[in-house]
Symmetry: C2
Subunit: 351 residues, 2 copies
Amino acid sequence: MTLKEIAKLANVSQGTVDRVVHERGRVSPKTREKILKILKEVNYQPNIYARGLVLNKSYTIAALLPEFEEGEYWELPTVGVLKAARELGHFGINLEILAFDQNSVSSFAEQANQVLKMKPDGVIIAPVINFEAIKLATKLKELKIPFNIIDSRLDIEGALSFVGQDAFQSGKLAAKLLSAEIQGSGIISIISIKNNENHNKTLQKRIDGFKSYFYDSELLSNITLKEHDIDERSKDWITTLSNACSRPNTRGIFVPSSKVHYVARVLEEKQMDIKLVGHDLITNNMEYVKKGVIDYIIGQRPEHQGYIALDDFYKSLIGKTQVTGFKYLPLDIVTKENLMYYHSDLLGIKS
Amino acid sequence: MTLKEIAKLANVSQGTVDRVVHERGRVSPKTREKILKILKEVNYQPNIYARGLVLNKSYTIAALLPEFEEGEYWELPTVGVLKAARELGHFGINLEILAFDQNSVSSFAEQANQVLKMKPDGVIIAPVINFEAIKLATKLKELKIPFNIIDSRLDIEGALSFVGQDAFQSGKLAAKLLSAEIQGSGIISIISIKNNENHNKTLQKRIDGFKSYFYDSELLSNITLKEHDIDERSKDWITTLSNACSRPNTRGIFVPSSKVHYVARVLEEKQMDIKLVGHDLITNNMEYVKKGVIDYIIGQRPEHQGYIALDDFYKSLIGKTQVTGFKYLPLDIVTKENLMYYHSDLLGIKS
DNA sequence: TTGTATGCGTTATCAT
DNA sequence: ATGATAACGCATACAA
């Protein structure tokens, strides 16, 4: 049903109906009521094509994402936003990616400044550098530029949406799987591999979740947890890693990040029969899952995160629908037997 | 860049450019080349709003789906197509659901006839009644009405797309999980619960996949597989089921369908410590996963299947993009620790 | 072979 | 307070 038809039904002009639809006043209460009634009766839905045509607005969304090498974790969310950008470009959503160096606070700050300078209609923030992200978000709030947060939470109110993971729960899930694999007893090593000084909240939450699984149960009597922190920047880190893996009686290893493939390589080379659980379905990890060296990978759909982040702006700016705040994506359990379909799913993303 | 602007660049009229864009001929080769060149240079993308407005076409898609009670499996794909219909209605995609009785061949045939009568622009088929589905698909091919297949494969060429699961692989995955849970030894029961005479291909493939996991490995020496077929229509089937569960030394049970909650109830009532793996995240099953009675549910994203099935018609009919043939959705492993996020994911679907 | 004109449904502006 | 009308970009029928 079109405005014109409704106007005829109400014996008024199209303009009047339009004023009622958009609540712009300047309509007598009587006719307003009459039109409102008809609108409800016929369940008027504006034609989005006509609306899109006449408004012909286009919006620029800035995405502040970490730089990455091919095959690294942050490639995945980036692929997701790019895919969304390709689809939504037709609808007037334009994407501008600003990449920063994860290990450089100043790099983030610099790109954040760029963001402010370009006065975008929305901003997607990967809050890898927590404190700086909060500063940016605060400024955006002042400027009334909507923003949303991707990957990990940020302690700030007022974001359009958050799309990410429940890191604590994913650690807990890892613990459950590893514990079943080692049949509930033995030594488990938690190996964190880092290459900078930043405090990584996600990593820590995963470890907390992992431990909590054992503390909450009576399993701990048969399980010993050991923690290893390894710095990729030290020259003999591979040896340190190797030693950590070779600790006697180690039955299982948990790596709270995508760097689990480094551990897998050690296990494979040394042919050690240790159960291994890690995070994120990056290419390197997939290879080791396929071979059975990594027993389980926990995924959090990073491409979908990227996709949804941009799609939320589309929904909010163009669709004018209410976008709901928190979106924790499912924690996918990926193993040799179902890897193939997660792999091909990445290509489709939305679907 | 608009047609008008391009026309100006080429010193021709809008109509001429349009004829080139749509390859409708009646343009001299010379001007054609000139325009083609410009089109490529500026990477002309038609404004979808304007196009949608002027074409103002709407398409009706018929979906032939099984009837269901609340909480049953087929509710989920139905929810998915309905969700898609709500979103795509704005773009001119209308959905007509025709529900048939899964246990009645004539009911399917009758609804299939309805489908043919209404001459839809596309058909979504749930090939639960295999032979009849093939008959329908054949007729649709003759009539050149595009169709796609949802849930399980159909042995016929020419579908727009197939969206479903790899049933064999999902059985295999179930075997891997169950085998880890029972630590590689003991008796495993495979319990099929049916309520009709139809040969259920999906069930059989899952069972085949399940067995293959053991046959392919050396595990079988420590594992004994027992199969139980239970008919829900027999008056004492609950007793039969109960007996099947109570078989001595049973360490694990596999149910190749969504009816795993029946088994869970027995295990809970009798407080039996048997590991349990089944399929499909229907409400009843979720409850038992939460309680830890069902250890793993393997999901196949039925809502997404429904969503994608309709979305494929949108892409093909309106977006005029090529829709790719086979889509096996990921086999999700759902357990107590990650259930919550799969649950909430159902609400979003697309995202 | 080419150009022109009309209309799709909505928004927004300008008269009345 | 209300009505009339132009414009958005495209497809198409018709005129030249």
